[in-house]
Amino acid sequence: MASITEFNPSTPKKDLLIMAVFTAVVLTAPIWLAPIGASYPDLLQRFAIFGIFAIGFNILFGLTGYLSFGHAAFLGIGSYSAVWMFKLFSMNALLAMAFGIFVAALFALVIGFICLRRSGIYFAILTLAFAQMAYNMAYSVLTPITNGETALTLDVADPRIIDRAILGDAKEALPSPSLFGLELTGFTSFYFCAVMLILAFWVSLKIFRSPFGLKLLAMKSNQNRMQYTGYNTKPYLLVAFVISGMYAGLAGSLMAVTDPLAGAERMQWTASGEVVLMTILGGAGTLFGPLFGAAIIKYFENIFSALNKTQLTEVFGFLPDGMAEALASVSLLFVGEGWHLTLGIMFMLVVIFLPGGLMEGIYRLTARVKRKRESGGAVSGGAVQPSE
């Protein structure tokens, strides 16, 4: 569906409205997610963090069409950097994030410089190769830095030079990441991630609306033509790659902030594939799509995978005994250990019927409603459109 990724001129006023609604929706998430059992800090944090990851990925894939299959490497690098910051210098979340983003940007610059010599499938394979390299090195030769499969964790005896200089010697217990004395745990930690998500979304919105974003979109539609008009496309692509790497670094360091532990499995190809799925499921090249995709996949992973037979039988409890049992057994295939199956079916349906992702579905629905209203003669203004 080409129409929804086309450049869409917007007015500052409309953008402001989008931001206001988005902010309100994100900050009230603990309330409106409660009925579906998703309103607990850990999952809310994950929504925000993987939302950031997917938004960043979308800047590369959605705008330029370059499919990176190794983005999880930057996520892992961000996490490791942040945890090392915690260990060596300070438990301050901002420092750790800044360092995580910086290191991820450095890696993205080098990896991007090499991988962007090719495009299409070759680019995807090159990025995949780099990510697998990072993953396997984290598991083998880099074990002193990454602590291998056991994962890098904090220790009471860590140096934490800055913290000790300011606060004196540490207590007996492990410290939590903090924001100038405010401990980031539970819901506080979610709101911290939420603010980061809003900022990340705002930057992404600005990029989408900027001439830079327009150039990236132009490259997606025809890079040769761009080059004939006198643009050197490589630097633009590299900048897009680095920005999206920095988003991944931010997401990775936030993962470390919410849970100070960094494991190599964050860099595995399945994690890279996951962000591709999130983006495509939600709608590549759209502003909100990747966020939806991230939320849906994380919801499935955390809620569906935890349903077991007892709970299912309870759900179907209103039916006659035999029937409830049978229904529970059938639906058990799709939840619990089988949550991948549900996700797979959903992904297939979306790709077959809504190639533009869930956003295309929303777009079609709103278009239909609009048509109906127009034919009915009642045009109502003021309704906020999702920013296609």
Partner: protein, 448 residues
Amino acid sequence: MGIFDGKTTRRRVLKGGAALAGGALVAPTVFSRGAWAQNFRNDPGDSGSVTFGFNVPQTGPYAEEGADELRAYQLAVKHLNGEGDGGMLNTMKPLALKGNGVLGKKVEYVTGDTQTKSDAARASARRMIERDGVVMVTGGSSSGVAVAVQSLCQEMGIIYMNGLTHANDTTGKDRRRYGFRHFFNAHMSAAALGPVLKQEMGTDRRSYMLVADYNWGWSVEESMTKVTEDMGWETVQSVRTPLGAGDFSQYLTPVLDSGADVLFLIHYGKDMVDSLTQAVQFGMRDRQANGKNFEIVVPLYSELMAQGAGKAVSGIYGSSNWLWSLNNEGSQAFAKSFGQEYGFPPSQAAHTCYVQALLYANAVESVGTFYPVEVIKFLEGFEFDGMGNGPTLYRAEDHQCFKPVLVVKGAENPQTQFDLLELVQEVPTEQITYPHDLYPGDLGPYEV
């Protein structure tokens, strides 16, 4: 998408208001936490039920173990609630449980998939603690996961009863006040296996080790190397292999030319099934090296692995925490009720998990409160019997259980697919006991 239509309806305002009001009611108790000692996270209070969290691998290389652990937990819940034949509640000594739940509250449970990944396991444990309000988390089939979840539970102030974890770190370097382990560990395996290997294979052996590359593999490697080298063996080489590798041929080929005559397969679960099957396919069992029969040793053995590897296990030595065929009251009671429920005997993973669930419940019943500090103090130094391993002590200094260790061997002529392992020796507790500061660690505070 209704979320983005920005309309404020009356219904929504009411909903939001209700949620805020709910939050306001909860808030004071959140902030005053710790103001008086009995106020603790996930206190079941006056509720008629209490929730346990079973966090086991349902996917990945240890999925088989995870499935068996979950069966055992479900059985434990039944027995605690007074359903079924009661299993070990009939044999456990001392026993405070009455078969009417825990402190009169019906036991319920939630489950989660650790995926054998630290990240996923912690996410799943946090879901249980933050959303489902569990009083205790238990499970895990990998020491990497166990250590990660155990430290999380320490931070959260929720007791973690380790399931199958065999690394020394779990109750050594990474021991935690809120974490307890019933299963034995790498040090005990090595101490028990050493003398048997010496007797069977002599003192002049050259060994080669394939090691699962994470904290469990490392600690078995460390303990086995120390014990075998102390009795005169030489370690030719030790190679670390990734978890869930699937194909181990690239690691097995070099073994043939290395001049080694004993191969240690420090793998577990499906990895061990794969590597052992491949080693046998390579003809290692029939080989001669240095004029001796080539031998394979699997330091941590289990029935599930033996079933997976089939005939390949016959004659291969290893150590085990428990066997269903043990001839004591507790084991028989458990094997019987497990068999009746599921139609096949339980594995050692199932046993340790079942026992852990009962031990926690019994501790709560004994002290009369779910307040974790009291429960921990009760379990520290707790001595019990009738749980299948003979007299057992929960050592206070590192929260490790001390009990006899089994040295087992793959049966030469198994009668059924459940008799694949035979008991060689029950090594007494004294022989495998070590000082608690051998692997130094810090338990941390009671109050968090």
